[in-house]
């Protein structure tokens, strides 16, 4: 005799449903992952600072003031001034804008191109997959500096071109991971069903396969934000990224920061701390997101 399981009490069912709405899942994430929440807050603070830099920064970040060169942190200049008398706090706030544009721009750009290419590569397989994977091999082994130098030399310096230079090496890294997940999705019956229904390749790839590999994609995306910010800082430090007088954290550390290491160490300390905190925030959030999304780690 068949036994029918008793219906769940309404309150429990509602609680379960609430867990699966976006708001419910977010609240659940904040409660379960305090470190990830702190990471998200750090990134949001820097993002808001960059977005409203004009209203937050007390001084013009690009204006030289030779009467107040290398002032130590004080009540007027909270984090001191640099060798041109520019307010370091104001430059950090505007630098947050550059970091966020490059960080999110390169991560989203590299991530989405990698996602589409990775899924397409897995879907078609055969020669297309083989050729694309060899191209990924080349791009992964190729030094970032040469790519950056070529992009900057051909298109000129500027935030947008730095985004392009950093996006290119992120594409194969995302493509590789996504392809591995997409290979499993390709074998699932609903993809065969979609094919049997006569759907086009683009529709199957974009509407049926891409949504099913979003979990590893989101995890990669959060890691890419931090990596792109670090890459931008490195390129700007080498003089290959954003150029003076635009405020960028890596640029603030370039050359002069070392020259004034003993007389005005705050020129080097604060931009570095800004980089560390932002990347730390992105990493903490990314880790927590991975734990929350990965079913093997979700309930630990």
């Amino acid at each position: 005799m068949a036994v029918i399981a008793p219906a769940r009490p309404d309150a429990e069912a509602e609680a379960l449903l609430r867990r699966y709405t976006l708001l419910g899942r977010s609240l659940d994430f904040f409660r379960r992952k305090p470190l990830g929440t702190i990471g998200l807050i750090i990134v949001l603070v820097f993002a808001v600072a960059g977005l409203f830099a004009e209203f937050i920064a007390p001084f013009d970040p690009e204006e030289n003031d030779f009467a107040s060169m290398m002032f130590a942190p004080n009540l007027t200049h909270w984090l001191g001034t640099d060798q041109f008398g520019r307010d370091i706090f104001s430059r950090l706030v505007f630098g947050a804008r550059t970091a966020m544009i490059v960080g999110f721009g390169a991560a989203v750009g590299g991530g989405i191109i990698g996602l589409v290419l990775g899924v397409t590569s897995a879907y078609f397989g055969g020669w297309f997959d083989l050729v694309l994977q060899r191209i990924f091999d080349i791009l992964m082994a190729f030094p970032l500096i040469i790519l950056a130098l070529a992009v900057v030399s051909v298109f000129g310096t500027g935030v947008f071109n730095v985004v392009i230079a950093i996006t290119i090496p992120l594409v194969p890294r995302c493509g590789r991971v996504v392809r591995a997940s997409a290979l499993a999705v390709r074998e699932v019956p609903y993809v065969d069903a979609a094919r049997a229904l006569g759907f086009g390749h683009a529709r199957i790839v974009l509407c049926h396969m891409v949504p099913n590999v979003v979990a590893p994609f989101l995890i990669l995306l959060s890691a890419f934000v931090g990596q792109a910010i670090l890459a931008e800082a490195s390129l700007s430090y080498l003089g290959l990224g954003v150029q003076e007088p635009v405020a960028a954290w890596g640029l603030m550390l370039q050359g002069s920061a070392e020259d004034y290491a003993t007389t005005a160490p705050w020129i080097a300390i604060f931009p570095g701390l800004a980089i560390v905190f932002t990347v730390l925030g992105a990493s903490l959030f990314g880790d927590a997101l991975r734990d929350a999304i990965d079913p093997k780690l979700r309930d630990r």
């Binding site: 191209i135 082994a141 190729f142 500096i145 430090y237 080498l238 070392e258 290491a261 931009p271």
Partner: protein
């Protein structure tokens, strides 16, 4: 095994050819002319005849396709040519700069392994203990800290501490002396860069060691080993660590390959004349021959290290056999 190695090396050929084509195209896309830089440096007047002669000597007057085919032919014969900037053989330029980059990379790897594997393992064995929290904070801070900034901070510290102790600030020397000639002097050059790079490197490795160990320690064969009455030390060293090290070996290999050409910023901070800086100088001087050779070296190291890592897999995990 031999067949596997040969197959892998043959499979690497398209990657190497693709990288050769990519660097060739990129170097031609970058505006500028090595002859103009060479003849025009110091504000000298540019003579068209001299410029034409320079182009002819360097083979730059040939059509692009001919230049590319000559480059591929020379590459196949392992003839890397003469530097367009200095006039010295490319191998000589590379051999002059390689030891310092190689030494920093090896030392950073040793530091990373010595820190990461014991700490990552202990952290996993004592999950959620104070030690575990310290290791996790150290690891995540290491990933978030740019190594060039850590380098600047270490220089500030050394400058201030040496000034306080001896009265005059001390900075690491920049003229490279091989380890076998003067070990102490050599270490004073490479130790700080190796520590700053090694810390970041160890942070990534530590996290992976910890998560791999956590996963392995939950496996059934660990329970079986314990049930057999084996000492915990043997369970950890012989059964858990050897399996957990599989992904760690891959990571160490990839990071090491990256360090050979990827130390540009660290070399800049510490004024080291390594491969990374040579690459940037070659591109800036439009020295196509040198830049192409350096990129091929970096890609070749990447390919070989990946192969070595795969072969190490077979040694670490007897279930994996290549044939």
């Amino acid at each position: 095994m031999h067949r596997y190695i040969i197959t892998r090396l043959l499979l690497a050929l398209p990657t190497l050819a693709g990288a050769a084509a990519l660097v060739f195209i990129l170097m031609r896309l970058i505006p500028g002319d090595v002859c103009v830089i060479r003849l025009g440096s110091g504000g000298a007047h540019l003579n068209q005849d001299a410029l034409d002669l320079c182009h002819k000597q360097l083979g730059l007057d040939q059509p692009i396709v001919v230049q590319f085919l000559t480059y591929l032919k020379n590459l196949a014969l392992f003839d890397f040519g003469i530097s367009m900037w200095s006039g010295n053989p490319v191998w000589q330029e590379i051999l002059l700069r390689l030891p310092v980059s190689l030494e920093v990379a090896i030392l950073a790897t040793v530091i990373a392994i010595l820190l990461a594997i014991p700490l990552g393992t202990l952290s996993a064995l004592k999950e959620n203990s104070a030690l575990d929290h310290v290791v996790r904070v150290l690891a995540i801070a290491g990933i978030a800290t740019p190594s060039f900034w850590l380098g600047i901070m270490s220089l500030i510290l050394v400058l201030n501490v040496s000034a306080a102790i001896t009265g005059s600030p001390w900075l690491p020397p920049i003229d490279y002396v091989p380890l076998w000639k003067d070990p102490l002097y050599n270490l004073s050059i490479v130790l700080l860069p190796a520590i700053t790079v090694g810390y970041r490197y160890s942070a990534v490795t530590m996290r992976l060691t910890r998560s791999a160990m956590l996963e392995v320690m939950r496996e059934d064969y660990i329970r079986t080993a314990r049930a057999k009455g084996l000492l915990e030390q043997i369970v950890v060293n012989r059964h858990a660590l050897k399996n957990a090290l599989l992904p760690v070996v891959t990571l160490i290999g990839i990071e090491f390959a990256f360090l050979i050409g990827g130390l540009v910023v660290t070399e800049q901070v510490f004024n080291l004349n390594g491969i990374g800086r040579l690459l940037v100088q070659a591109v800036q001087n439009q020295d196509n021959v040198l830049a192409q050779a350096l990129v091929m070296l970096v890609v070749l190291v990447f390919v070989i290290v990946n192969l070595v890592v795969d072969l190490l897999y077979a040694w670490l995990d007897p279930r994996i056999r290549y044939s």
